[in-house]
């Protein structure tokens, strides 16, 4: 008993509590989303909410197992875990089942497993392991390159599965690199690229180029006008112009029609309430009709009658919005922000470099999911099918997020013992 108490003593209670609250709120939301009179019991195993309870219980078991595992194990076995997952990602390409266009599932006796979900924590472990290694030096070219390779391999494999949404999650891990000293200009460069791409799609490309020219011209008044600087500005202009032109070209010639439509709908260039815009529109209606206090538990009409597709998975936030109103959505957002900020705060108190980097990875991944999923339901993000952590229905994602979080909690509980 004393031993056990020792194991649980340094567990961060706030994180565990936030985790429990989110998981339970998710479960209740799934119940409300797919509720039907014939199976009114929340424990009915023939329904999504009954199954989700099973996932929750097994997740608790997994969490417990992680707590009971030696903390050093995850650092030591980071690479084997990473390589194992990569192999699974390759195998699934050949043996996986296809669900809504993505070949990303293993189906073993009615039990579905999505390797891409587990690749998230495996990649984070590998990244943390590499970045915390003693011979890591971010001045060296090799040290700058390898983290990108670690990120790119799983992302590329997931893109091959035709699950672009899940692949984009890995981009969030660049925040970890930033925290570890990657020049801010690279992040700034990425954001600039994204803004330029959006502008190129929204407006006439030549107008965009003209605006760039005017901005750069204005910029030259604030710098020392040496030949070198002027050449640099001209170089930037040429590169930016070429980029704008190539975005337009890629959009017109490379993207599939349905991808074009999706992008157009998000950019507001196209209104398509029956097609690509349907989900987003119905989702906005569901959330919007919730009002300040919401319609009340099980009183939602939008989500209950299947107007919002995938309401128990990717669009679970709609149910919160419709039934609990602005109060409910604000609480959920604040809970996520609390969880993520807490993770960063806890990460910062780590003496182990590995733990801290891993913590940042957890925060980045959770935040990216939250950012994209909620943004999608309120029409601020394109429809990218990734789950809302702890909320969305599904065993793989709940297990994967639980593992992701509890490895960190375990590392943290060991912070005083290690080093």
């Amino acid at each position: 008993m004393k031993e056990q108490k020792g194991i649980f003593r340094h567990i961060d209670r706030t994180l565990v509590l936030l985790y429990l609250v989110l998981v339970l709120m998710g479960w209740v939301s799934i119940y409300a989303a797919v509720y039907n009179d014939e199976h009114a019991s929340i424990f009915d195993l023939s329904q999504s909410y009954g199954k989700q309870l099973l996932w929750i219980i097994t997740s608790f078991v997994i969490a417990l197992m992680i707590i009971l595992t030696d903390a050093k194990f995850f650092n030591a076995f980071a690479y084997p875990i990473y390589i194992g997952t990569i192999l699974l990602l390759i195998v699934v390409l050949f043996l996986g089942n296809v669900t809504s266009g993505a070949r990303s599932w293993f189906e073993i006796g009615g039990f579905k497993l999505q390797p891409a979900e587990f690749a998230k924590f495996a990649t984070t472990l590998a990244l943390a392991h590499y970045l915390s290694a003693l011979d890591f030096d971010n001045k060296k070219r090799k040290s700058q390159l390898i983290p990108w390779i670690i990120l790119t391999i799983p992302a590329a494999l997931i893109i091959l599965q035709n699950d672009t949404g899940s692949a984009m999650v890995y981009a969030s891990l660049t925040l970890v690199l930033y925290r570890q000293g990657m020049p801010g200009s690279i992040l700034l460069f990425g954001v600039t690229i994204a803004i330029l791409a959006i502008m190129a799609l929204l407006f006439n490309q030549y107008i965009v180029i003209a605006v760039i020219a005017v901005l750069l011209l204005g910029f030259t008044f604030f710098i020392r006008r040496t030949w070198q600087n002027i050449l640099k500005v001209i170089g930037i202009f040429v590169v930016a112009s070429l980029f704008v032109l190539s975005v337009e070209y890629a959009f017109q010639n490379i993207l599939e029609p349905h991808q074009k439509t999706r992008i157009n709908v998000v950019l507001g260039k196209q209104i398509d309430l029956k097609g690509a815009g349907y989900n987003v529109n119905q989702s906005k209606i569901a959330i919007g009709s919730g009002g300040f206090w919401g319609k009340g538990f099980l009183k939602g009409t939008q989500t209950k009658f299947n107007f919002v597709p995938e309401q128990s998975t990717d669009f679970i936030f709609c149910t919160v919005g419709e039934e609990w109103g602005f109060v409910g959505t604000t609480i959920v957002i604040l809970l996520f922000l609390a969880l993520i900020t807490r993770i960063i705060m806890v990460a910062e108190r780590q003496r182990s470099e590995f733990s801290r980097i891993y913590g940042y990875g957890v925060a980045s991944i959770l935040f990216f999911h939250f950012f994209v999923n909620v943004g999608m339901t309120i029409g601020l993000m394109p429809v990218i099918g990734i789950p809302l952590p702890f909320f969305s229905y599904g065993g793989s994602s709940l297990w994967a997020f639980t593992i992701l979080l509890f490895i960190f909690i375990k590392q943290d509980s060991n912070r005083l013992i290690l080093v």
Partner: protein, 603 residues
């Protein structure tokens, strides 16, 4: 620990997270609290406003017999997407359709919508419904939807009761109560009492899911309104008499209208040839309507109120009444008659001469009535012919001629009783006199009357000088109609009416009475024959009558078009009708058979 240098970057990262979270909360506040349009869209998504159609009111006769009610019919509906494991052969057998017919219907339904219900087979019979209902559980995707159709159980009173049909766009525009596909009364009582019969539509708010499937009522039906059933109409019609009249008029053109003089209630109202009113119901309506509309004998024409006939000799008593009232004749005044040699109007009867008003009515003497009419238009109390004519005309209008009678029947025509201005126009002012318009004295010439006007005139005589507007409906639900309190008094003193009644009684009872062959020993009847010349050259057979004379219970008008003498057809038919009404059975089988079997359609 080189990366400790970058520890302040956590501020940048956390700030980014918090800013995005804040943006999301602001966005949510906008769409959830400020922008109300989403709530509206949500309601439009899930709420379906389903109209509840009230049952149309029923129509009863004076003895509580049903004339018109609603019959439940059943449409077999199908939702194509839900059809599964269907025994096609079985359903074809039940509906008596071929497999091709089945495929055609399914295709039509699928083309309309794979997920919405559409009618697979409309108005299936009760028997078929019985079979299908038993086996419905085996036909997934099929269900039966009950609807109602108007049903005329005795197949009588087509023109009287009228029919309903779908509203036209023009009607919808005029009255927003109606929506596309609603039914509205088009003719007869169905039209006249549309407002009372239709009831009030109700509204049910149902919730549907994204597939448009019903998932229950909205807020437990708190905002639903129930449909209010249409009011039942209690009429004065005697269904048996109506049926008997239609039988008598079989294969004849013309009309019978009978009323109760004491109240103005219409007992029988028919136009012949008629049609089975059930023909204009449901899905066969438009086809049958087309056929009836093309029929040369015009079965759709309501002759009882739209047929404008020359009254012929039936109008003579009106002249006598005006003459007596103006004092240009007395009950003892006699005029001579030279029989067929009379001038300017010949007499069709041989009788004593000179004769008084009683005898003149009994034997329908033309010269006598010409003399009366001439005396009226030469009355020295007035300066001009025009003035005298106007007096005559006003008296006739007080008896209900030349105007509509303010009844509850749609499309009532007013006949023709020309004003003096019309004659001024035709002949020139001051250039016409009694001689010019002499035909009016015997109910010919310009004057035209509807059967309804003639029966109303008979009722006025029966009442000795007044009438109530003839009407069909006594009460709507428990609320009485107002007709029986609207007493119309003719401008003739009752004492003069006694004179006329006496003359009309002798039409049956007199030794030379024109209808003496059709008297009934135990009943005092009063009547008047009319043999009206028409433009076709063939005479209409007219008759008006009432009985019993001492306490009138029925007044009647019979017109048989182009059939010959009034005494040959209209008089016996009227007499039989009176017998039927008063005694409930007809004993004079020989006359009855002769009338029923006569085919005068092609005279």
């Amino acid at each position: 620990m080189a990366s400790r240098i970058y520890a302040d970057r956590k501020i940048v990262i956390i700030s980014t997270f918090l800013v995005i979270g804040f943006i999301y909360i602001v966005r949510l506040f906008y769409i959830q609290v400020i922008d109300k349009s989403y709530t509206l869209s949500a309601n439009n998504n899930v709420l379906r406003y389903v109209t509840q159609f009230p049952a149309r009111g029923l129509i009863y006769d004076r003895n509580g017999k049903l004339l018109l009610y609603n019959e439940a019919v059943y449409d077999l509906m199908v939702i194509p997407r839900q059809v599964k494991d269907l025994d096609t052969a079985e359903i074809c057998r039940l509906l008596e359709i071929t497999p091709e017919g089945f495929n055609e219907r399914m295709k039509k339904a699928r083309d309309y919508s794979p997920i919405l219900a559409s009618a697979f087979e409309k108005q299936i019979s009760k028997e078929t419904y019985g079979y299908i209902e038993e086996k419905l559980y085996r036909f997934r995707g099929f269900f039966v939807q009950p609807r109602t159709l108007r049903k005329y159980p005795m197949s009588i009173g087509a023109h009287l009761l009228g029919y309903i049909g779908e509203v036209t766009p023009a009607q919808i525009e005029k009255n927003p109560y109606y929506k596309q596909g609603d039914y509205i009364g088009i003719s007869g009582i169905e039209r006249a009492y549309e407002k009372q019969l239709r009831g009030i539509k109700g509204l049910k708010i149902r919730m549907v899911d994204v597939m448009n499937r019903d998932v229950g009522s909205f807020e437990n039906g708190r905002y639903d309104t129930a449909a209010v059933m249409g009011g039942d109409l209690y009429t004065g019609i005697d269904a048996e008499l109506q049926q008997y009249g239609e039988k008598l008029m079989n294969n004849k053109r013309g009309s019978i209208v009978a009323i109760d003089p004491k109240t103005g209630e219409i007992l029988c109202f028919l136009s012949s040839p008629g049609y089975d009113p059930n023909l204009l119901v449901g899905r066969v309506r438009s086809k049958n309507f087309g056929e009836l509309n093309k029929d040369p004998v015009k079965p759709l024409l309501n002759r009882a109120i739209m047929g404008q006939y020359p009254p012929g000799s039936t109008l003579k008593m009106a002249n006598d009444l005006v003459g007596l009232q103006m004092g240009v004749i007395t009950k003892d005044t006699r005029f001579s008659c030279q029989g067929p040699g009379s001038s300017p109007i010949k007499c069709t009867h041989n009788h004593v001469s000179p004769l008084d008003v009683y005898m003149a009515i009994q034997q329908s003497c033309n010269p006598f009535h010409w003399q009366v009419f001439r005396a009226i238009l030469n009355d020295p109390n007035y300066a001009t012919v025009k003035e005298r004519y106007d007096v005559w005309r006003n008296h006739l209008m007080s008896m209900g001629f030349g105007r509509t009678l303010n009844t509850d029947l749609a499309f009532e025509l007013k006949g023709n009783l020309p004003s003096s201005d019309v004659f001024d126009k035709i002949y020139g002012k001051g250039h016409w006199n009694a001689m010019t318009v002499r035909s009016l004295s015997i109910g010919q010439g310009e004057v035209l009357t509807t059967p309804l006007q003639l029966v109303n005139y008979a009722a006025m005589v029966a009442n000795r000088g007044y009438f109530y507007p003839p009407h069909v409906v006594r009460s709507v639900g428990t609320e009485k109609t107002k007709f029986s309190s609207q007493k119309n008094v003719a401008t003739i003193n009752p004492e003069y009416l006694d004179v006329i009644v006496q003359g009309m009684t002798e039409v049956f009872s007199g030794a030379h009475g024109t209808a003496r062959a059709y008297k009934i020993d135990s009943l005092t009847m009063a009547g008047k024959t009319g043999t009206a010349q028409t433009s076709s050259g063939k005479d209409n057979s007219n008759f008006i009558a009432f009985a019993p004379v001492e306490n009138p219970q029925i007044a009647i008008c019979v017109i048989v078009e182009e059939a010959g003498f009034g005494a040959t057809w209209a008089a016996p038919i009227a007499s039989l009708m009176i017998e039927k009404y008063i005694f409930r059975t007809v004993k004079r089988k020989e006359i009855e058979d002769r009338m029923i079997n006569a085919n005068l359609l092609n005279n």
